[in-house]
């Protein structure tokens, strides 16, 4: 019980405070988790990670600051919905949507766990991976909010930026002779500087700030009101769950791809139907937030089945488990119903987190009582701190801040366009290139 509550508490903090990721949290808690048996470590991690996805949406929606990169869609839609007086409803509906995603994916996995190993194994077949990344890249270019030619240009810019510092097998990485570039451009600096912060500042400049302040006086929306909103957007939630479930398996991207890709798909669908609301779209927000919750559990599958971590924080989970003498494999996962227990706690954690997010939003909306100029300054400071703290042990803080300042300048210049295409292309390009290189090596060399 204490373990479950601790995981909820840590997950809440990780989600609410931009800059603290799951990895940093696991590093800080390492000595405390070390004596625990494998099942407890997995429960702790699953509940903490799940909760952080719930509470991360609040900070993103309320103040437009992304606690995790997976909350980037919420930084765009959230403040706009708040400005329309729909903030509390957005938070509660998103929380319920996220819980739906949690239940759907956990149920599917619980029902199919005996057969899931073959599926997860085959998912990493290079032919499937190549098709997946090429399709995602095409959808990003086709479905972005800008004109096709601008999307294409942005995708090329994103891919070019991703090439800096990219470690290949045949040639030295492009660094322009500056060693800091050997790690590439820091994603957090690019994401916050080029996209999140300029978008939020633009939203603040467009909306009536007095309306935002009046939103802070509203109470949390009722269960009935929220359930009606969920019912209206159930198709978006189901689409988000499905996309999130598969995207969560993509190494290195997991929930980031889950939320951002489902957001783009939902935006595309709604624009085709001419129902997308430029002033904050609830369906897109729900789809993205549902996707990251369903992606969170599937992202743990390769770790639990093959003992292969696919994100940094899972490396620490694996280390903690193996240090205790347990070799992680499908057999250990199925023995004694280990997976079933983890999945049940994940659902329980999701249920409690739904209420934490609901009530937590009420407190955070008070932030709009702060005068606009102070709030903007606060946002810039919080964003700068996030960038500064990103990979703080890499000796790269000054470089990260310089990248952030540069990206912010470009983000401001391009603020009237959808720069998220650059971000997605930046994220996807290395995976696409490597899978294409392997495709060529396997079939044509």
């Amino acid at each position: 019980m204490m373990l479950f509550l601790s995981a909820l508490l840590v997950g809440t903090i990780v989600g609410l405070l931009p800059g603290i990721g799951l990895f940093s949290a696991m590093v800080l808690l390492y000595p405390f988790l070390l004596p625990l048996p494998p099942i407890d470590i997995l429960i702790f991690y699953a509940v903490m990670a799940g909760t952080s996805q719930f509470t991360g949406s609040i900070t993103a929606c309320v103040v437009g600051a992304a606690g995790e990169p997976s909350s980037i869609p919420a930084t765009k839609e959230g403040p706009l919905l708040f400005a329309r007086g729909l903030g509390p409803l957005a938070i509660s509906t998103t929380a319920i949507g996220s819980f739906i995603g949690t239940i759907i994916v956990a149920s599917i996995l619980l029902l199919t766990i005996d057969h899931i190993s073959a599926f997860v194994g085959n998912f990493y077949n290079n032919n499937i991976q190549t098709a997946l990344f090429v399709t995602v890249m095409i959808i990003i270019v086709m479905a972005g909010s800008n004109k096709f030619i601008v999307n294409l240009l942005y995708a090329i810019i994103g891919a070019s930026l991703a090439n800096i510092g990219l470690q290949r097998y045949t040639s030295e990485p492009i660094t322009f002779g500056i060693s800091a570039f050997s790690n590439g451009i820091p994603f957090v600096a690019l994401a916050i500087g080029l996209y999140s912060l300029p978008q939020v500042l633009r939203a603040f400049s467009l909306v009536d700030f007095k309306l935002l302040q009046s939103a802070s006086n509203t109470t949390v929306s009722s269960i009935k009101e929220s359930l009606i909103a969920v019912k209206e957007n159930i198709a978006a939630a189901l689409r988000g769950s499905a996309i999130g479930m598969f995207a969560g398996l993509v190494p290195g991207l997991t929930t980031i791809l889950a939320s951002n890709f489902s957001y783009i798909v939902e935006q595309f669908i709604r624009k085709r139907k001419q129902v997308y609301n430029e002033n904050g779209d609830m369906a897109c927000l729900i789809s993205a937030e549902t996707a990251n919750n369903s992606g969170q559990l599937t992202s743990m599958l390769p770790l639990m089945i093959f003992g292969i971590p696919i994100v940094g924080s899972e490396v620490i989970v694996l280390d903690l488990i193996e240090r205790g003498g347990t070799q992680v494999s499908l057999n250990t996962l199925l023995a004694g119903g280990m997976f079933q227990t983890v999945a049940m706690y994940f659902i329980l954690g999701g249920f409690v987190s739904m209420f934490i997010a609901w009530q937590g939003a009420k407190l955070l909306t008070k932030i709009y009582k702060i005068p606009k100029n102070f709030l903007v300054t606060f946002l810039v400071i919080i964003s700068s701190v996030s960038v500064y703290l990103f990979e703080a042990d890499s000796n790269n803080q000054l470089f990260n801040c310089l990248c952030f300042a540069t990206c912010l300048g470009f983000g401001y210049l391009l603020r009237k366009t959808d720069t998220s295409v650059i971000l997605f292309s930046f994220l996807i390009y290395p995976f696409m290139e490597f899978s294409l290189v392997r495709f060529y090596a396997i079939h044509f060399s």
């Binding site: 990895f23 590093v27 390492y30 194994g121 085959n122 998912f123 990493y124 077949n125 290079n126 499937i128 510092g165 470690q167 097998y169 030295e172 990485p173 660094t175 060693s179 800091a180 050997s182 790690n183 190494p251 390769p302 093959f306 003992g307 292969i308 971590p309 696919i310 940094g312 490396v315 280390d319 193996e322 240090r323 070799q327 494999s329 499908l330 057999n331 990979e391 042990d393 890499s394 000796n395 790269n396 490597f434 290189v437 392997r438 090596a441 396997i442 060399s445």
Partner: protein
């Protein structure tokens, strides 16, 4: 009284000047995952137990780590991988007798194929087959065993395992920890290990492939230091070598399929780089 105070003051000054500065920076050429990270987080608490203040710098790449190492004014150590020191962009981190601290762990490579197949025969017959590998094992290394290997590159060892399991390739070359897991799960038949000794029933490459240029290939992970005065450097080296024979370090090595060769010299380490020579 004055004499007593003066004596006390002198003692204090002496004690301060003779106290060893036990702060040390460990510069790691990987991000917060992978072998380098594992080694660094294992090493840190063991050094702290010996009174050191340790700051880990996760530089991310060997080029950045080299740059951090040679630009810092702090007492600093660099985690070396012999496989990387052989790369042209990382060839500045070659230890000398003076900068050498110790070799921390050594690990061989294993080659595995699909269970139930004549994997050894396939390679000896030099059939056209695919092999999954990370950039650590360059194409020249695997192709010198079988020129008809189709080299399929992955960014990290976890990727090679995922690709091999999903049916991308027929063979995989990887480290002990990955191959042991593949064998235990019945996913792979690991049939050759680099070196002179059989490990877990797997035959050594010197016996199966005596003509293979890289049959003694081993990954060495070592430490070199900079900015340490001689007395501190000597004490640090002594502490590290003592640490390598502790039960904690042995348990870590066993868990990850490494062996420990704490007596390795800088010359022996530098000779091991030749094995990783690239085209």
């Amino acid at each position: 009284m004055k004499t007593l105070l003066l004596t006390l003051l002198l003692c204090l000054v002496n004690a301060t000047s003779f106290a060893i500065d036990k702060s040390v920076e460990i510069i790691v050429p990987t991000k917060t995952s992978g072998t380098g990270y594992d080694i660094a987080v294992e090493l840190k608490p063991l050094l702290e137990k010996r009174g050191y203040t340790v700051n880990l710098v996760m530089s991310g790449t060997c080029t950045k780590a080299q740059s951090d190492f040679y630009s810092t004014s702090k007492q600093s150590t660099l985690l070396l991988f012999n496989a990387w020191s052989a790369l042209p962009e990382c060839d500045k981190s070659i230890p000398t007798n003076a900068s050498w601290v110790a070799n921390l762990v050594t690990g061989p490579a294993m080659i595995c194929g699909k269970p139930g197949k004549d994997n050894l025969g396939i390679i000896k017959r030099k059939e056209v087959v695919t092999i999954a590998s990370t950039s650590v094992y360059a194409p020249s290394i695997v192709k010198s065993l079988n020129p008809n290997f189709k080299y399929v590159p992955y960014p990290e060892s976890g990727g090679t395992v995922r690709g091999f399991t999903a049916g991308d390739t027929e063979f995989i070359i990887t480290n002990m920890i990955r191959s042991t897991k593949l064998m235990k799960d019945g996913i792979a038949d690991c049939f050759v290990v680099t070196g002179r000794e059989a490990i877990n029933g797997v035959q050594p490459a010197t016996k199966l492939f005596p003509q293979w240029k890289y049959n003694l290939l081993e990954l060495n992970l070592a430490l070199m230091q900079r900015n340490m005065p001689r007395d501190i450097s000597e004490q640090f080296t002594k502490d590290i070598r003592e640490l390598l024979v502790t039960p904690e370090w042995r348990a870590f090595a066993d868990r990850n399929g490494y062996t420990i060769n704490q007596t390795m010299t800088s010359d022996q380490y530098n000779n091991s780089l030749l094995l990783w020579g690239r085209d």
